[in-house]
Symmetry: C2
Subunit: 391 residues, 2 copies
């Protein structure tokens, strides 16, 4: 009459976790090698691997050979055992992808954002997920998780998007809750620049360092901070909202309140205004302006140089506060090497310890990549994580 429900699950969880991590780290590996690497006994490894294979997480893939001794069966992660969705919501485009447990992209798509916003976006997301699931050869109910990147400041606790000027109606609903209820799986909502930083940390320039910042420069400006290897959100989710940096204008000018002093000084609007101020006449978009620069136009060069100077000062300020090893730039302006080279020139002249500057490895897919990185990490945690009880 002993019920024996989950008596000592923790030891087995730890062993399982060690096995999974070892297989992840080595790709394809035999049980004997897992035992050597983890320090656990062969018996335990056999037990754990049997359970994991029964549950579909591992699959046998081949045999060793060529070495003396009996051949070993090698196992690897069954990547398809966990699929998740990453969505990057932009003001004009929505990008979405499904990735597996190993972070491989198994389906990807891009559509125009429904301009009506609000609940229409929830419908659009749901339709996208069904399509992607079909393209990936599965169904939406097999997906484990959605990570949604959105512009704006969102509450770290509730996931509510408090400020999102470029997407109508999205701050009126609790997008995370509504969307999650609709599709029946957990949804994580995160600021898109924060996701871009996570993307670089996962598979981009940030892979080797645990202290860097992703600075997005475009119509708006923003920053995602990775410090001590984790994302900083701040008390209200507004960490990295460098639009409000008191640089490039008078901090006490009330006009800086609405748009933000720094954003007013370096956003695309400011850049074009500056170009016109220098006498430029041949650019109505940022792309035009860079074309004019490359054609040798001095007013374009002056506009770019002035912007670079302000960005360098901002990076100096960020460096003084955070001491990042690396600053990665992205966005329609921040991804331009012409600007970044100018920033690289200015930076050592305004700070004694300039961080390295790199352009984002992923261009406009950085946030999508970050969402996948979060999704993969979260799946690993949920599936194999060891959680100790909080007392």
């Amino acid at each position: 009459m002993i019920s024996s429900v989950a008596q000592t699950p923790i030891a087995r969880k730890i062993s399982t976790n060690a096995v999974i991590r070892t297989v992840f780290a080595n790709g394809s590996i035999s049980r004997a090698d897992i035992a050597k690497l983890t320090g656990l006994s062969k018996q335990t490894i056999s037990d754990v691997v049997r359970d994991l294979e029964d549950d579909g997480w591992l699959k046998p893939v081949g045999q060793t050979d060529g070495r003396p001794g009996r051949n070993a069966i090698t196992y690897e992660i069954n990547a398809r055992a966990g699929l998740a969705v990453s969505i990057d919501l932009g003001s004009t485009k929505i990008a979405a992808a499904i990735c597996d447990l190993l972070g491989n992209v198994v389906a990807e798509t891009k559509v125009s954002t429904d301009p009506r916003g609000g609940m229409h976006l929830v419908n659009q997301f749901s339709d996208l997920i069904v399509e992607l699931a079909f393209a990936a050869g599965t169904t939406a109910d097999k997906l484990r998780l959605v990570v949604l990147g959105s512009p704006g400041v969102l509450d770290p606790a509730t996931g509510h998007i408090n400020v999102a000027p470029s997407i109508p109606g999205i701050d009126a609903i609790n997008l995370r809750q509504v969307f999650s209820d609709r599709i029946g799986i957990p949804v994580i909502v995160e600021n898109d620049v924060n996701l871009a930083a996570q993307g670089e940390r996962w598979r981009g320039h940030g892979i080797e360092t645990s202290n860097f910042a992703f600075v997005a420069l475009g119509t708006g400006v923003g920053m995602g901070i990775i410090a001590n290897g984790t994302l900083l959100r701040g008390a209200r989710g507004a960490a990295g909202e460098i639009a409000y940096l008191p640089i490039g204008g008078d901090a006490f000018d009330p006009g800086g309140f609405t748009l933000g002093t720094f954003e007013s000084a370096v956003g695309s609007v400011a850049m074009l205004r500056r170009y016109v101020g220098f006498g430029g006449r041949n650019a109505s978009t940022v792309a035009d302006l860079f074309a004019a620069f490359n054609a040798g136009e001095t007013s374009a060069a002056a506009a770019i140089e002035e912007t670079a100077r302000l960005v360098a000062v901002a990076i100096a300020a960020i460096g003084a506060a955070l001491d990042p090893e690396l600053v990665i730039t992205g966005g329609s302006i921040g991804a331009r090497p012409e600007l970044v080279n100018a920033i690289r020139d200015f930076l050592p002249r305004c700070t004694p310890y300039p961080p390295r500057i790199e352009i984002s490895r992923f261009g406009n897919r950085a946030a999508l990549m970050g969402g996948m990185g979060i999704a993969v990490e979260r799946m690993h945690d949920d599936l194999f994580g060891v959680k100790l009880r909080e007392v």
Copy 2:
């Protein structure tokens, strides 16, 4: 012939950790209540408590009574089972204290810093520890750990102090290593402002929040950042080195390189220079200046107001980058309510989401407190922490 060495230590460690944490959280508690709070069985709790009592970590202190049923024996932490040292190295004074496992101060002292610096300081520390141990009724070899706070930038990996202008000869030796070898117990070296931040997090204004900054304003300036509940050090240990913030002067002025643009603008020297510039003649120290302010002198008021304005802009910049809930000020200037009130006035005029401002709860003991907080945490980790093997 079964050797049976540490077969399944992890489960017992987890149980032990849960027991210890429960006793810490509740002060004095019976085994039955520990079982209820942890969810572990009475049997397990009895076993664990017996082991802990045998090893001296717990001690029985009394009995419950007044309730129906058999009385329970209550246990509490034997605070004296772990003693550690906190030292705050300043350019003129060294403060040191011994605290126990519960963070109670059992001995404290203060001496003048040996002006010869270098190895003489190591001698001074060693003597201090012997004295303190005697005062605490124990001997130096019973102490488990030393936490040493020092001005300067130190390497997060090695503990080497790279920059420490106010203490001679300290960057020439690996202070952590030399000192640790001398006294034979582990030494943790940390920047003094970072320790002050830890002190506020442990038992000061930062106790309720996990995102705040400690800003020290005095002869020099510095900042300690707690984000997501942990201290940020940055890639080179220079996070929070706000001396180099490009605020209060031209960031591209080469003069700002040596001292730092912001420090040159708000340090005590700058403040006194500003006072003289406004026509003040009655102050040669910062204390004089605040006295003149309180006597109604307009040039003192102007000097303070200008300093407050610059500090407000700096806090706005820090807020844009980090979004702290709270900024705690300290140091000989930062602890003055006259200045802080002026900062509080300026702040909402230069940032849309001003953080709360508080003056440090501990005055010049903040770093010492922080060292004790670190020491207590570290002792808990070492003694009761659960460490999973890294694969």
